[in-house]
């Protein structure tokens, strides 16, 4: 009956209850919104590394090389493949894949080509699959094989623009390549993503700079020390290489968002404190308004803690209602943000020319990450707000003498 009584009291004092609910709702919406946005941004920023199946990306940035019909991308310089040969021999690396990205010009238009090892499909720019809707689904033909030389797998969008089908010929570095498969790599940014994928050995022949890579993907084993691996790579390749880890990626892609996140988290914390003060004040005012009623309860034998229990239940119910609506609004805010947010893969990693026949995606898709844990946090904060208000009310109740509350007696 405590609960039923509390509900009736909330209905009776609609305006006060509504104000308290709105206060809690606002703060929880802000809190959940901020945390859900940052979670979603983090997920989006880590997506390229996750889809590459790598923990580290090694590249050598430098001056663009001179123009040729075949050239390395704008700011990527070659790294000797031999430098990575001994990496991971003692188990500190669980997977490694070197790729060679280059631009092939035809009639002044560049195409983005990546040479990949056909045997390695668990790490790298694409992970071919037969599964529908997954990246990178082979929608037509097949993936590259070890025996392929002048074979190419082309991106679906590029194939549409260029009118390519399986069996079509494509000119790369003045060599005719046969399209053996068409893949759908989706419209989300990928590291070393390309319009055309060819066997890496053929790519090395066409670029004609020896046994080189432009990007190396590394998956560390669980026991390895990333710092030690970085040191090993720098020693083997020279100190100029850029090593990008998941953490660096997050800082680069979502750096601005992280700053905003901290700021907004700070603001939402202040809002929560203000709302806490507000609900406490509201609870105290409610106790004052019901001074007479509380006097009656005390007169008929309710202990202070019994009255406090009722006031706390009322506050917790109000906070829970505010919390539930707040969580819902928080996720609506996140959804709206995700619709409008524009996050891009760092320029240093995706050095694609702007004038190619079809553009490669550099935008990262921000998907709303629904987290039950976040809802739990939101509801927990709401309950704490309710308990705080209840506690403040209880303190006031215990200081009320029943005879004072019942001046009539």
């Amino acid at each position: 009956m405590f609960f039923e009584y509390a509900l009736k009291e909330i209905t009776r004092r609609r305006s006060r209850a509504l104000l308290a609910i709105l206060g809690v709702m606002f703060s929880i919406a802000l809190l959940v919104g901020v945390l859900a946005v940052s979670q979603s941004v983090e997920q989006a920023a880590l997506q390229p590394m996750k889809s590459a199946g790598a923990d580290m990306i090694v590249q050598l940035h430098g001056e663009p090389c001179a123009f040729n019909t075949v050239k390395l991308p704008t700011n990527l310089n070659p790294m000797r493949a031999s430098a990575f040969k001994n990496l991971g021999t003692n188990g500190e690396v669980s997977a490694i894949a070197g790729v060679l990205e280059f631009l092939s010009f035809k009639d002044g238009h560049p195409s983005i080509i990546t040479g990949v090892d056909p045997n390695i499909t668990n790490i790298g720019p694409i992970k071919p699959t037969e599964k529908k809707g997954e990246c990178c689904e082979i929608v037509e033909g097949r993936y590259l094989q070890n025996t392929d030389i002048y074979a190419a797998v082309v991106d679906k969008e590029f194939a549409i623009v260029k009118g390519l089908n399986v069996g079509s010929k494509i000119d790369i570095g003045e060599k005719d390549f046969e399209v053996v498969g068409i893949i759908n790599s989706g419209r989300t940014a990928r590291i070393a993503g390309a319009q055309v994928f060819v066997p890496i050995n053929t790519a090395k022949q066409i670029v004609n700079k020896g046994d080189i890579f432009t990007t190396v993907f590394i998956k560390l084993s669980s026991k390895s020390d990333p710092k030690a691996i970085e040191e090993k790579i720098r020693t083997a390749t020279g100190n100029n290489v850029t090593i990008t880890t998941s953490a660096d990626f997050l800082a680069t892609v979502a750096g601005m968002s992280a700053m905003t996140k901290n700021m907004t988290a700070g603001i939402s914390l202040i809002v929560i404190v203000l709302v806490a003060l507000f609900v406490i004040k509201s609870s105290l005012a409610a106790v004052y308004e019901r001074k007479n009623e509380i006097g009656i309860m005390k007169a008929i034998g309710w202990r202070d803690m019994d009255v406090a229990k009722l006031i706390t239940i009322e506050n917790v119910i109000q906070s829970l209602i505010g919390g539930i609506i707040g969580c819902f609004i928080g996720y609506i805010i996140t959804y709206l943000y995700a619709m409008k947010a524009r996050l891009a893969i760092p320029q240093a990693i995706a050095s694609y020319p702007a004038c190619s026949a079809s553009t490669l995606a550099t935008d990262l898709t921000v998907n709303v990450v629904f987290s039950p844990f976040l809802i739990l946090i939101g509801m927990l904060v709401a309950v704490v707000l309710g308990l705080l208000a209840g506690y403040a009310g209880a303190k006031r109740i215990s200081s009320l003498l029943p005879s004072e509350a019942l001046r009539q007696l």
Binding site: K298, I300, G301, W302, L406
Partner: protein, 228 residues
Amino acid sequence: MIKIHNIKKVYNKGITKVEALKGVSFSIESGDMVALMGASGSGKSTLLSLIGGLDKCESGSIFIGEENISVLNAQKLADFRRDKIGFVFQQFHLIPTLSVVENVMLPLLPIKMKKVERYQTAMEVIEKVGLHTREKHLPGELSGGEQQRVAIARALVNKPKIILADEPTGDLDSKTGEKILDLLVTLNKKEKRTIIIATHDNKIAEVAKRKIVLEDGELVSDIRREKL
């Protein structure tokens, strides 16, 4: 038995101190019905508050049975009020959002008992005050007399030995007032409950077994009915 010995009560009103009770002493036998009379400000309401454990006196003692309630802490006083005292107020003081039966159940709420048992106990006293057909009505839907009956039922639900009533007929017309008074007299006669009524109403004094008159915080008259 209620034993009041030399109780003093002072109210601080700003810088001035008002002596509400100036050393009052008397005893009330169990099953007695006492009319506490006096002009406004004479101290009768203060006396009722102290007997009911709603307030504490500066000095003196109040024994209810063997227990000195003037030394009890807030929690024990609450338990004392719940177990031993039933209050009836002039303005009824019912909770407007709760139905008749819910208002009557209110004193039982903090006590551990089954919902059905609580309901049945409340219905028994509602029937006793003649409102069993109105159990689901809200106080606003009842007449003044009916509301006071609900208040009496609420005071009775814990089966207290002592009922303290403050001007129970003060807000009622004379006919309804008489009915309420009859109910209190019945409770005193049939159930042997001790009833102390603070009142200005001479009709109450006429039916009470004893009339205690206060004036400026002092007991000026204490007359038994046979001598009235």
